[in-house]
């Protein structure tokens, strides 16, 4: 006989406390003999995207293996370095025909080989995060979470800049930019009205009916709608199950988009951490900023004036490089904070970070030359003991970035022979087990 576990909500009080809390034994089902059943802890994946590459000289560390030195840009990782691996020398290829910046972000996680131009010249087949969501997100309230810290609402760039997460060719995930809205999606009331399910059934029938006369792309477009309806039905069901476990939301509702850049990125990180901890979702992407977004932006506490990240990458004067390094460092510091948050959150005998893989990277290495080769990636967490941590791996020669995604997919149990232009795992990242 399995005893009913205590709803986790009853022990959570506010974010700070919540993430410090150990996962109580009682949360795992007990066997009738009184022993703890082996908990099946899911693995979570987060992908943080920063635009326009990194200033290489202050980023790439000397030394490989465990003996890598913290560079100025990576310094904020000092107290979590045992959890973070630095990957350098991974490569992608640019496909001529579309913008070099747009492709950098939109195709960072793509499963398309570079020559698979499915979507107006873009190789935007389903991205790694969405493959993960299909594999491990089926039973959570949200299969995946797509966030962005670009609060500009200008229409000046296309969705290729705004989203790193794609359901399929031409079908970008919508990024959510307001922490408050994210909060409500994660922890708010489920769609409530019990009649909604039957409404959605009727709507599904409408849509299926209307497909008849449509062909080709039209039909694919309407299928996006059908897919959304089906996911919503599932989501309502799961949210209701989950809501039964909570009496109140697990953290205070954010008021909106914070004024300061650091606070903005931090609260998005907190939302991801909280969603992971409560198993509302297992896959998240966060676009720190879109590629080539030429609106200057304040980096509070770093500069006293707004900076244009993209323009700086193409600026030769010395000061510009220092500024780039500071922006990179700022983003690394934000990443370190997310890693720290996950590391300090107990889950069973381990930490939440031990059951996660948290990636940060960019679709270019040197933003000035738009170099798609020699990419830098930070990778934290051991994905349930499957990944090594705390090492610098440098990959010589042509090693596709896709191999990293293939490796991460493998840790989630996705069996694929190839991914984009890769046909193999990065075995050096994996533990022998």
């Amino acid at each position: 006989m399995v005893q009913k576990p205590i709803p986790r909500r009853t022990v959570l009080r506010g974010l700070g406390a919540a993430l410090g809390l150990p996962l109580l034994e009682a949360m795992f089902p007990r066997t009738s003999l009184g022993g703890l059943a082996e908990p099946v802890v899911p693995t979570r994946y987060a992908f943080v995207y920063t635009p326009n590459g990194y200033w290489q000289p202050t980023f790439v560390p000397q030394g490989v293996g465990k003996d890598w030195e913290l560079t100025p840009t990576l310094e904020p990782l000092a107290d979590v370095r045992q959890h973070v691996s630095v990957l350098t020398g991974l490569d992608r290829q640019f496909t001529p025909g579309t913008g070099v910046h747009a492709q950098a972000g939109a195709c960072w996680l793509t499963s398309s080989p570079p020559d698979e131009t499915l979507d107006g010249g873009f190789p935007t087949n389903i991205t790694a995060d969405q493959i993960l969501a299909r594999q491990i997100g089926r039973d959570t309230v949200l299969p995946s979470l797509e966030l962005s810290c670009n609060d500009h609402t200008d229409q000046k760039e296309t969705r290729y800049f705004e989203s790193v997460s794609w359901y399929g060719p031409g079908y970008a995930a919508t990024t959510e930019k307001n922490p408050r809205t994210v909060f409500r999606r994660l922890f708010g009331e489920p769609n409530g009205d019990p009649a909604v399910s039957s409404v959605l059934d009727a709507v599904l029938e409408d849509a299926s009916d209307l497909r008849g006369r449509l062909g080709g792309v039209d039909r694919v477009k309407l299928d996006e709608f059908l897919e959304s309806v089906r996911s919503t039905e599932k989501r309502i069901q799961r949210a209701e199950d989950l809501a039964r476990r909570w009496k109140e939301p697990p953290m205070a509702e954010p008021a909106g988009i914070p004024r300061e850049r650091g606070d903005y990125l931090r609260v998005m990180g907190q939302l991801i951490a909280m969603a992971f901890q409560l198993d509302v979702t297992r896959v998240a992407t966060l676009v720190v900023d879109p590629e080539r977004w030429d609106s200057p932006r304040m980096y509070h506490g770093v500069f006293d004036k707004p900076q244009n990240h993209h323009v700086l990458t193409h600026t030769k004067e010395e000061g510009a490089r220092d500024k780039l390094a500071l922006i990179d460092r700022f983003h690394v510091a934000q990443y370190a904070e997310l890693v720290r948050l996950l590391a300090s959150s107990q889950e069973g005998s381990q930490s939440l970070l031990d059951h996660s893989a948290v990636v940060m990277g960019s679709g270019m290495s040197d933003g000035n030359r738009h170099n798609y080769g020699d990419l830098n990636v930070l990778l934290a967490g051991s994905a349930g003991g499957k990944l090594k941590s705390g090492e610098h791996h440098h990959f010589d020669g042509d090693v596709p970035l896709g191999s990293l995604w293939l490796t991460l997919l493998k840790t989630a149990g996705v069996e694929r022979q190839s991914f984009a232009d890769s046909h193999g795992n990065l075995s050096s990242l994996m533990t022998s087990s």
């Binding site: 760039e157 296309t158 959510e176 009727a202 006369r213 959304s228 919503t232 989501r235």
Partner: protein
């Protein structure tokens, strides 16, 4: 698309067979290939493959167009490269012309690949506005739309519809419905403020009853005007039960939340507010009361705190009587009257004596309770006794009604009809029958299950049968009414009639909800939810069920739009919203497809105020003022005057200007040459235009000022600036790309950025930094064309104000030398310079408008339509309406490609 493809293949064949046709390729390989070949595509252009015919025809066409524009003005090949000899250039240009014409002609009139599009955020809000008559800004929680095609959000090909959209559609639908009350009698009524939900039939009826009571209350105010107000106020409440209830409320600690419950404790529910009023009247200082009531109040206050129920009732009765006596002795008393199903007014006291008395039924449906205050007047059944003029008179409900003004009476009649329509007496009978046969908690509207029926004996079942039959008939009748109301509304929302199958689905949602005891309103909304979340509503493209499909003509690759499809395409083009009743009626009779009718409708619609939708969506997305109210570019410390209300006014300026351009059929070139704009007081003050007051946008003549047209608009000038300084580059690019329709390549790598503020550390101004920049040949290629245009606008600061000098007091030099050697000084020269290129501006306007109208990027075949539009506009004063009409009449607009499913 076989026809188009075959023709292209044929052309390619001819070209390769012709020996001389190799010359263009040789020229391009030699002079362009290093930078614009398949391996290295500078500016994303592969000229070699384009000329080789190795690209899809629309890419080839666009590439040739781009090459032609650059080669014709000798911008390419660049000066540092090998020079293209003039004779070869001429032959190449002629070849390209011919090639482009051939491609265009092979695809002329092709409606092109138009992918079904969902409503944009703005279209969603507009559609809901036109459906409800309310400005709810519905769907504001939806994600922002991106732009594609010719730069517009309405391009289906580039739109996504995600899980998040759907969540927000559901939210928006709920929000919209909170403004709605539906009844079988009055249909759908929208209210600007959100309404309470009335989930159960009882709640729905109570709402109507409250309104009826309120109606009488209001009437009384008119009737007693100038009478003895004090007495009315107090005696009006006089009733033994109120004395009793007030006492009990005191014991409950005067908790306001306890009032409704308390009021419902009585066979005939009391009015909660009256209990409170009665309490406060008597509990307060008696000195304020009329003399004859003081004794009563004193008595009431003297009651001990622990009276038993019986004791309380008897004391209250006694005191009530003394009240009545007092009142009668003085001027009259208060009575309650009820209005029964047959609309007879019944005295409340008589009612209590009736044998079939059933408190709940009286309260809920059989009777409308009316508190009738006494007034000087005769008893209803007795003529006024002439001999006793002092005798107290009573006024019945009927008399109040008779005395009411006709419009008020009509309102009451409507309310009574509504009450009757939702009374559902048969359902109430079922509920009360079940209650007396073992189901204490029976819910109105729910029929007994077969298990429950088995528990009854035969006699009971037989007694129930007629009740059930009546309830089923009643339900069927209501469902029928719901069906009609739903069909009418969904037809407007979906912009086409519904087929029975679709309507059945909606009505099934209604009846399902009804069977669980939902009110008519709540059940209707369950179905309405499906109307608002259906793809038939959410997609701008009208999605027709197969039932409507016409027999395909053999072999044709295009088909004319159905009338309904056409109506929607027209209304979304001109109004960014759904068709109105007139359009739908013409679609229903299929007259809309007649060209004269279509033209007449187009002319009617562009004079309608809803054309504002086009002004904001088409004009605003093109020129950049859409959404400017949320623009936060300028540095707030440097420019504290750039407030949200100013930004809002700047957006409104653009919308009003463009709306005026279309509605009043002005020439296209007025965009740059207009000597007017629109402003309210705040914006006029910002611009330094005198004599404008108020917050409304007004048309202002701008002769003698730098304003007028888009070049003087704050939204345009501020959006093309940096936070701390102007950007002649952004402004120049804006003029070149948006007004003149040129395609500029993205900036190359390794550009030296300009300073963030007006000067760099070396003390050089932006103008000086730009001059240095242009001294580099590879920058000059583009910047020689970009910068002069922007520099002429230097007198406008980063928030669009006029300035004579910069922050350091240096005079602004808005001079610029064009490559032609011509010098422009200031905005006036720029206007003249652009006005001379009116053909180019008209072409750009037509291209943009066609792209917006069709919801796709332009295709080679469209260039012929654009050419004929240019020609007609040139002949006829460049009137905007002409461009609109020619687009509407074009095959591109009136037809669509057939899908495989339709062949």
């Amino acid at each position: 698309m076989m026809r188009f493809l075959l023709t292209i293949a044929a052309i390619a064949c001819i070209a390769t067979n012709d020996l001389t046709a190799n010359e263009p390729l040789e020229i391009v390989v030699r002079y362009c290939g290093d930078c614009h070949g398949p391996d290295y595509q500078e500016a994303e252009l592969d000229a070699v493959s384009a000329v080789r015919g190795a690209l899809p025809s629309h890419v080839e066409f666009a590439s040739l167009e781009l090459m032609k524009s650059a080669i014709a003005i000798q911008r390419m090949p660049p000066s540092e490269s090998e020079t293209l000899p003039p004779d070869q250039r001429a032959r190449l240009l002629a070849w390209m012309d011919e090639r482009m014409r051939a491609i265009a002609e092979s695809q002329a009139d092709d409606p092109g690949p138009v992918v079904i599009a969902r409503l944009t955020k703005a279209e969603y809000a507009n559609a809901v506005r036109d459906l409800t008559g309310l400005r709810l800004d519905a769907g504001r929680q939806l994600p922002e739309d991106g732009g594609a095609g010719e730069g517009f959000a309405n391009v289906g090909e580039a739109q996504s519809l995600t899980l998040e959209h759907l969540e927000k559609y559901l939210q928006a639908s709920r929000e919209i419905q909170s403004h709605l009350r539906v009844s079988p009698a009055s249909g759908m009524q929208w209210s600007s403020s959100p309404l309470r939900s009335v989930a159960k039939p009882q709640e729905a009826r109570q709402e109507v009853l409250d309104r009826i009571t309120h109606w009488y209350g209001n009437q009384e105010v008119h009737l007693v005007e100038g009478r003895d107000r004090a007495l009315r106020d107090h005696y009006g409440l006089s009733h033994g039960l109120y004395l009793e209830a007030a006492y009990r409320w005191q014991k409950l600690g005067r908790d306001p939340e306890a009032l409704p419950r308390l009021a419902n404790d009585y066979a005939v529910p009391l009015i909660p507010a009256s209990i409170a009023k009665w309490h406060f009247t008597f509990a307060s200082d008696t000195a304020d009361l009329p003399e004859e009531l003081q004794a009563v109040a004193k008595e009431w206050r003297s009651w001990p705190a622990d009276l038993s129920d019986e004791e309380l009732r008897s004391r209250a009765k006694k005191l009530d009587k003394s009240c009545d006596q007092l009142a009668s002795a003085k001027k009259g008393g208060a009575k309650q009257f009820f209005r029964d199903r047959n609309r007879r007014v019944v005295d409340g006291n008589d009612l209590h004596k009736k044998t079939h008395f059933n408190a709940e039924r009286i309260a809920l449906s059989d009777f409308t309770r009316v508190d009738v205050r006494y007034l000087n007047g005769p008893w209803p059944d007795q003529p006024e006794p002439e001999d006793k003029p002092d005798r107290p008179y009573f006024l019945t409900a009927a008399m109040v009604r008779e005395a009411a003004p006709p419009e008020d009476r009509a309102e009451l009649e409507t309310l009574l009809d509504e009450l009757v329509a939702i009374a559902q007496p048969a359902a109430q009978d079922v509920a009360s029958f079940r209650r007396t046969h073992g189901h204490a908690d029976s819910v109105e509207g729910v029929l007994p299950t077969s298990d429950e029926l088995k528990l009854w004996d035969e006699a009971t079942r037989q007694a129930f049968e007629p009740i059930r039959t009546a309830a089923e008939a009643e339900n069927a009748k209501l469902a029928q009414i719901a069906r009609q109301q739903m069909a009418a509304f969904a037809r407007r929302a979906w912009r086409r009639p519904l087929v029975d199958r679709e309507l059945d689905r909606l009505v099934a949602l209604f009846t399902d909800a009804r069977q669980t005891g939902a009110s008519y309103d709540a059940a209707f909304k369950a179905a309405l939810h499906a109307v608002f979340v259906s793809p038939a509503f959410l997609y701008r493209t009208v999605l027709m069920p197969e039932d409507f499909a016409k027999q395909a003509e053999e072999g044709s690759e295009t088909r004319p739009l159905d009338s309904y499809e056409l109506a929607s395409r027209l209304s979304f083009f001109l109004w960014a919203s759904i068709p109105d009743d007139e359009l739908l009626a013409l679609a229903e009779t299929d007259q809309l497809r007649e060209l004269e009718v279509l033209l007449a409708q187009t002319r009617r619609m562009i004079r309608d105020e809803r054309v504002r939708g086009m002004a904001r969506e088409f004009g605003g997305q093109w020129l950049g003022f859409a959404g400017f109210k949320d623009f936060t570019g300028p540095d707030t410390e440097r420019f504290p005057e750039f407030t949200p209300s100013l930004a809002e006014a700047m957006e409104q300026e653009g919308i009003a200007f463009f709306e005026d351009l279309v509605r009043n059929d002005r020439p296209v070139t007025a965009l740059v040459t207009a000597n007017w704009t629109f402003a309210n007081a705040e914006l006029a003050n910002h611009y330094g235009l005198p004599g404008i007051t108020g917050t409304d946008m007004q048309r202002v003549m701008t002769d003698g000022t730098p304003r007028g047209g888009v070049l003087g608009m704050g939204a345009v000038l501020a959006r093309s600036s940096e936070p701390l300084r102007t950007s002649p580059v952004h402004r120049g690019v804006w003029v070149l790309e948006q007004i003149l329709g040129e395609h500029l390549p993205p900036p190359p790598a390794n550009v030296q950025p300009l300073s963030d503020d007006e000067v760099n550390p070396a003390g050089e101004s932006i103008v000086e930094q730009l001059a240095k920049h242009r001294a580099q040949a590879h920058c000059a290629v583009c910047h020689d064309r970009i910068d002069p245009l922007g520099l002429t606008l230097e007198n406008f600061d980063p928030v669009g104000r006029w300035r004579e000098s910069d922050r350091f007091g240096e005079p602004i030099e808005a001079h610029a030398a064009l490559k032609s050697g011509q010098t422009l000084t200031g905005t006036a020269d720029l206007r003249d310079h652009l006005a001379q290129q009116d053909d180019v501006i008209v072409r750009q306007f037509c291209r943009k408008m066609l792209g917006y109208a069709l919801g796709r990027g332009l295709q080679p075949g469209d260039s012929l339509l654009i050419q004929s539009m240019q020609k007609r506009l040139k002949e006829e004063d460049q009137r905007v309406s002409l461009a609109v009409e020619m687009i509407v009449m074009s095959p591109q607009f009136r037809e669509r490609r057939r899908t495989h499913a339709e062949r």
